[in-house]
Symmetry: C2
Subunit: 337 residues, 2 copies
């Protein structure tokens, strides 16, 4: 049984959407046992209206809620009875192996480090973001955890990302690129120039060198490594440009009766094509390098991303990925930072 | 007369495309005198096939060409008779006030600094990039000149960008945003945290605080300030995501006979909408902070961007922008870095 803890109180549509997403996963992802964290009465009331295999779902009472506006570390320290803190202790105590939350990114990241703890030798667990590309999906990391990164952190991101894409996404020999401002050897800022030769020496990854931001959406490499400031800008440019262009196209279509008819005729094909760019199907952003898997789901999730995140967690646990990451890091002498 | 030097030997379609673009500007941008740099016989041969006001165009012989593959600083030092070096000396000697090239960015940037020279107090002239947004156009700087920036450089980018958007693009009180990974005060990397309070104190700009990458394409602010590594990633994500999405939509439309008909029906409206996202109409990337305006045009230009760049240069010269930038920088005690 793959034991997965779910924070039912995070996100814009909690707890209904989260519970719906969790229950929906029971059929599509077998062999899981789900632990739902939140105020017991509320959750049980919602669950009582549903038909599902009760042996695979357990409610754990967590009456407090950490809001988006609270300072993350303070909230983690003070709200011992919150769904996030109680669930993370559950992971720490090995009562479950993975945790999913659509709540505060900061609280999930801080709590993951403070409560679940880091794998020895990994000073800064990164946020991974699974981003759809023209070719499939790539893992961008660090997409938001640690700004002002050091070269050693980026080396670890490359290794952990490779393990994730191989074991969870199922890619053979995933390629790794280091985000850079040009393909030439001499390009880059101080961080990239220092990291490049070190990353070339890593034997257990398929490093292909510089990855220009222009080539990311086309699927230039499977694991995209960068500092969190850059990674966050890349992720948000992707969202922002995509959103803006699609809304411009929509209003162009609405601008005349003829193009409205045209729009109706292309709708089917367009929907099919755009489906693969729906980040929701990839199931959230994993934080790698902790003693368990912690997955952050978009706050605006309608529950479907939770369903996919549960599948992702089951794959991660099945692959024994925490142990594989720990072994890969231990294989190198990595300075603690 | 606004005197503008044009490098006819840079870009994929030089010299024909460049000359076409330059000649096309004569009608739309009056009061200019153009100096065309390149091998005289070649340029004159091309010009002899055209009808134009000969009193406004002068060929200056520059037999050498700097290629994209040459090390910029070395090429600038060695190829004294290249179109780039001879034209930049022309600016330095005040025989013209602005220079346009579709050639090597590195050579144009290095040559601009080494030959034309920096305005006193400006240690690092940035590359500006005019990017189309849902609301109009924004200036992103630094889009590629100086990685590992210091706070003082970013402050200068904010001022120079404001002057540019006001004087050349014609915006009243242009808003300035500092690229950041969140809107909250405590967010940011070391550079942003150090720069933020200093930028708030600048009196001569309309600073609106953090600008998240997600909001750039929507037109969140008129002047977008960041380090060149981040700026280059933003610019290239914009290009890459736009290109990828549009090609996905095209292949979706081609995927069935019904959607092909639909595509034909929306084509007119779509073309109209997409026109405003054609970066070419904004006429290239200005390097700000030099003793003259230097504008880099895309290497793949078909000449139209040159036409627009010439208009941009004329506006810049008319506005006396070099003097205004120098005055604005001199008004503060800015440490040389």
């Amino acid at each position: 049984m793959y034991r997965i803890a779910v924070d039912c109180m995070g996100g814009d549509h909690a707890p209904e959407a989260i519970i719906n997403g969790a229950i929906a996963s029971l059929d599509s992802t077998p062999d899981t046992k789900l632990f739902l964290f939140g105020p017991a009465a509320t959750l049980e009331n919602l669950l009582s209206q549903k038909t599902y295999d009760k042996s695979r779902v357990e409610v754990i009472d967590a009456p407090e809620v950490i809001s988006l506006h609270e300072a993350p570390v303070l909230a983690i320290r003070r709200k011992k009875d919150s769904s996030i803190v109680k669930a993370l202790h559950f992971i720490k105590d090995k009562q479950a192996d993975a945790f999913i939350s659509a709540g505060s990114s900061g609280a999930v990241l801080a709590g993951g480090q403070l409560i679940v703890g880091r794998i020895p030798g990994i000073p800064r667990p990164p946020f991974g973001a699974l981003i759809p590309t023209a070719k499939g999906v790539s893992l961008l990391l660090d997409s938001g955890a640690n700004v002002d990164a050091k070269p050693e952190w980026l080396l670890q991101y490359a290794k952990m990302g490779s393990i994730y894409m191989k074991e969870v996404v199922g890619l053979e020999n995933p390629s790794v690129g280091l985000v850079n401002v040009g393909a030439e050897e001499e390009k880059g800022n101080a961080l990239v120039k220092e990291t490049m030769p070190l990353m070339k020496e890593l034997k257990d990854i398929n490093f292909i060198g510089s990855c220009e931001a222009r080539d990311i959406a086309g699927g230039a490499c499977d694991v995209i490594v960068c500092d969190a400031f850059v990674g966050n800008c890349i992720l948000k440019m992707y969202e922002g440009v995509g959103h803006m262009l699609l809304s411009q196209i929509k209003s162009a279509i609405k601008s005349s009766p003829v193009s409205l008819i045209g729009g109706a005729l292309i709708k089917g094909s367009l929907k099919e094509t755009m489906k693969k760019f729906d980040a929701k199907q990839y199931g959230g952003a994993p934080i790698l390098g902790l003693n368990g898997l912690v997955v952050k789901v978009h706050g605006n999730t309608d529950g479907r991303e939770v369903t996919h995140a549960i599948r992702q967690c089951a794959d991660f646990i099945r692959a024994d990925a925490v142990r594989k990451i720990a072994a890969s890091i231990a294989a190198e002498t990595t300075p603690e930072a």
